[in-house]
Symmetry: C2
Subunit: 151 residues, 2 copies
DNA sequence: CGGTATCCCTGAAGATACTG
DNA sequence: CAGTATCTTCAGGGATACCG
């Protein structure tokens, strides 16, 4: 988990992302934030995480600009944690993980939570396309290294 | 990182996914597999991972049906590891991670590897839509718990 | 080259107690 | 309720040596 000095993935955006949000708890906290949770106690109750760990995770998520500490609207004393734009842009990651999990990690008929469009009630899906809108699969994808480095 | 007995995320597909592929090395191996790497030594060289760890990771990826061990086409003695359909379906996860990393984890002008359509050379993007094809943002998304459980 | 077998060590996570 | 401070434990991972 700890990033070593340097390796061939330094210029790979996926690797960097994993370095930043590639740990279990952080993504789960983000998931809960998408679900509308904002307070320390809410996260703790939802995740069953130790308080010191939660505290530390929240701090690094704030440091990394994924969550922002905000004062509650009702003027209360407690702290709230809201997703920033950067955090909200993790939405596709969450959807992709969810979609894969739904497909492969549940037995037929086994229940699971669902992600829907709150306006239409329809399930939310995601797909990959080229810029002109054509759907595309992994077989057509190619990772090209940057000019003066190898990926 | 280790999954505890039970918690509120049991019925959340995202949480299950993270439980299966939520560790740093596994996703990086999968990324390399998308990049066309198949052999033990290739992964090791690319990742700089210790051999015993790589061995163990490959084994669990095989156990989980993400990679499959196959004999090389040239009849050679070495083992190869290929993505299964299940593994290939992690493509959106990789693309989502990559896209987020490109956007937030690189300084302006800093080089990084790119993911392109090998047929057209165009960048590959991903987006989220409802089933009738309308693009949609996180603000419209809603996680609904399964009937008899809370997410 | 493609692993397996050991040993060791660090750091991430839990439990618990305490504070404002 | 929202944390901080300690202490301890334990498993993930590195290094190294060895094997077919």
């Amino acid at each position: 988990m700890v990033r070593r000095k340097s390796f061939s993935g330094d210029y790979c955006p996926s690797a960097r992302s994993l370095d930043v949000i590639g740990d279990w708890w952080s993504l789960l906290i983000v998931r809960d934030a998408f679900d509308g949770l904002t307070r320390f106690g809410e996260f703790q109750k939802s995740l069953g995480i130790a308080k010191n760990i939660l505290s530390q995770r929240l701090r690094t998520l704030v440091e990394r600009g994924i969550l922002a500490p905000v004062a509650p609207a009702d003027g209360g004393a407690h702290q709230e944690y809201h997703l920033t734009d950067k955090g909200r842009d993790l939405f596709p990651v969450m959807v992709a993980l969810r979609q894969w999990g739904e497909r492969y990690l549940f037995a037929p008929g086994e229940v699971h939570s669902a992600l829907i469009d709150r306006e239409t009630g329809q399930p939310i899906r995601l797909d990959i396309r080229t810029q002109d809108g054509k759907p595309i699969g992994p077989e057509r994808a190619l990772i090209v290294p940057p000019p003066e480095a190898k990926d």
